[in-house]
Symmetry: D3
Subunit: 208 residues, 6 copies
């Protein structure tokens, strides 16, 4: 992912999705001089707490944070689909990302799948490479995911876990563990000969 | 898998395949009073060494060992497909297994896929439940696998690794690691709320 | 399906879905000492008539009936998806089912697919085995369905048809036939060597 | 497609979808004495302009035009799914088409996919052959499409492009090109040995 | 299937495959004035008996019989794949069929799948419509099959069963039943509103 | 594809496969300072003529040519699969490619699919990115292909066609056309906003 000096957009339905799914890659790109934007579509509950946590996490990862439905708690389902597509159209129109990394179509969360399909549609507006990251969840639900791209995150594994941990209201008060994501990264990494990796499914890459 | 007193057949193309893919389940069933048969189709090289290792492994797992193409090094590709199906037909005819667990169709090794398809065909002869285990390999090749069944192997995780280690000619002389299989079992386990699990894809189950 | 003394949840979008798709298995499990709950999400029309028919059917099958959106006609589409997930979260939280059998993702009815996906999401709350039954319909629409599990319903074939027939407002006044479901069960049964079977697709099984 | 004297229904979410995806086949059938209906579900913007353009296009193609949500701008998402299914149920009930050609399930536009699924459901009402045409778009978004039927449109290639061009507000004011559709038809045609073809995916054909 | 006066080729790996999978359609087309050829690739055992039975069956169905590897028992696996493709290339070169109906890719029999793929390749030589029929077997093995075309065989259901019965060495001496195929045809038929139907998967249709 | 100074391996079953499927990308990379190897597995007929043509083509594309089964006409099917895997193991062991581009699994030609699977297996030996190019053919057979990566070949479109044309014995004596490949590149290109593109399916990419 040679995007030095370009903008790369990470898109997640809610706070902590990006960190769980692809936080190591966020940090890898940020460290490599890419202009990384972490865009969260909505904060469904506890707006102040959760947006502050997201802000802390963005600082840890070294990226810019954007909350698309900002200013208060909102639910993605309260948007019509064409409104969500409009929101993403505007985002890619303005930010002209070289690549977008977002949820995938096999995720079990309705909002995640909705965001994925809206992102696919936003390709109408500009050309960008598109990747889906693993289904993200705080409690386990096995869903199929067939990755075909891997990012070596050996240098940012700990940063990723710190960024997840910044979401204190999720992973401390609710007693959820996230060691799973270290194990998953180790398994993905061994598959491609590195210590830790994040797995992706390629939707579209253009070599120009 | 309530097969107490019944026979369950684990089928692998070569020595160590069963241990890598599904060895924990072998031990779980053996411990539960199931009559477990570990059937290896062929030994492609070093027959004496590798069949002795397989025998050691079977002792560790507590199951019966059978080598289908016994008596010397043979390759599955040197059989016509109808010969391989005939071999498996005979095996299931004689052993009448309640279930068979073998390789799956997305494995990257030609012999593994061949054994899978021949096992599917052997259902003509008798009714048995059929499961595929994860693609097995000593060096990593990412291939898709979408499990929908899980066996809790928390009680046999160490036994599985000992059985793999019994294949000394593979995992010591060749410098291969198999810690990957512990990590994979932990990731699979967390997905279903246990410490360690082996993942399977269901081909056919009959509840009678 | 060895669920003696445990609770198993059958979930259908509307009255008669469960009977058409999986009624024979309901009766098999009820006869085997399983605590079977037949849960209908909503009654879209003729609430009194249809809930009385569902009650008659539950008596025939020997199971408990629950209507989730009870008290009057309601449509699943009038719920937001997170509300439906919340409803199912609560149901599995309270009833702690060992297994849930519901619609599948290839069904052509929008509500059926919605209920399926919400059930997948409810796995966040508790661990349960998850199966999808055949697409159900009163008038034929061919849709793909690839079963990999079969329940022998030879002993309850007639009970299933009686339970379907209890939905008098559907199958008598509207002139619809349901002999199709006997034929389908015979074809499924022959595939696995029994007289009559219901076919299922496995989403998740845990052998613990 | 031997539908002489019968009615064939082309169904598109919005104006110009049918022309882009399957306009050549509309003209081929119209020329062959089939009673062709081009049914547009909704006009989301500029009702007067766009319905006039659709009318011009229908005249070029030689078919009847129907706008299902007529009389003003409406959005498909503002219908509940059961309302959309009801609308299509009524349409096929009245028009008794021998075949329906509509969007497919892999299209990236939310409305297109919704119309596809509602059409599948409308098969409950009457028997008709069902085909999906290629994903249609005015700006490119690569999406998978696996055709298995082809219509030779060599005789109507130019008519198709004229019908697309009749949508002046789209293809002139907005600077969009549609030469892509000629190139695509040439590539599809070469695949089956004709000059130009439109590609379809078969959902259901009945040879009676 | 309007192939009046044209040639249609039914292709099966071995004697009785065509009758089991698509025999009703053979008879429907033969009755409708199509020049039907039933081509069997090989007779693996009992050449005299089985080719005589195939001949009796062809007489019942009203079609021409060809045995491609004629003159004695031969196995498809004893051909290299390029030899099999060459054999089919020659067959379609000479007979110029308007359509070919053969096994499908999900069949569990190795020879059936091989014949399918060789037929796909033979499209290099001439254009023909291509369909796959259901997996055929004399003893049940559940395999996935997703049909999207149906032929009404209500008028030839009995003829089909007679043609199967002509294979006396299979269905009498070996005690195999074939009533399954009547049940399957009834289930397929109900799905499309006729008494009996055979189901097909479309590989390629050209409407020219 | 930033492989400056690294080696990239293009692999095709027979002469002209690489040019047809991915010749534009060969030239793009060669022009960009990548060490490109075009490796042909076998020459099945006319060894002298066809290897001279391949040599001419390699000169046009600016890459190194290797014929794996060199010295005379050989057929891939005359190798056991393990022999083919061994051949490719050795090739990647020696050449340590950063990426390999070869046939894909949906190709209709038996040898192409065999080469694809053997290349997947060769990932055991070294890590390399793996891509599949479009099914290649000199006479059309429609097969599914779902690309998710595109290479802009606008600057090498003509070079690609010249390289194809260098295979004089194929495209002149046999009267075959290859303008199809220009049309296909234009359609692929328009999908991603360039004049001409070659489409690929990603098997594995590692961003390290």
């Amino acid at each position: 992912m040679n995007f030095y000096g370009q903008r790369v957009l990470f898109l997640g339905a809610h706070p902590d999705d990006i960190e769980l799914g692809i936080g190591g890659t966020v940090a890898v790109l940020a460290n490599a001089g890419v202009r990384v934007v972490m865009a969260i579509v909505s904060v469904p509950a506890e707006y102040e707490v959760r947006s502050a946590e997201a802000s802390d996490s963005a600082a840890i990862l070294g990226c810019e944070l954007r909350i698309l439905l900002e200013g208060g708690c909102k639910r993605i389902e309260d948007l019509k689909n064409y409104q969500l597509v409009g929101l993403l159209d505007e985002l890619v129109e303005q930010s002209r990302p070289a690549a977008v990394l977002t949820h995938g179509p096999t995720d079990f969360h309705h909002d995640h799948v909705t965001v994925y399909h809206a992102t696919v549609a936003a390709q109408r507006i500009t050309q960008f490479d598109l990747y889906s990251y693993v289904p993200t969840m705080t409690r386990p639900v096995p869903v199929p995911f067939a990755p075909n791209a891997y990012v070596d995150i050996s240098s940012t594994m700990d940063t990723k876990l710190q960024a997840i941990a910044a979401h204190k209201s999720q992973f401390y008060s609710r007693g959820l563990a996230f060691e799973y994501y270290r194990d998953l990264a180790r398994v993905s990494g061994r598959m491609v000969g590195v210590d830790y990796a994040e797995a992706l499914a390629v939707d579209k890459i253009v070599f120009a």
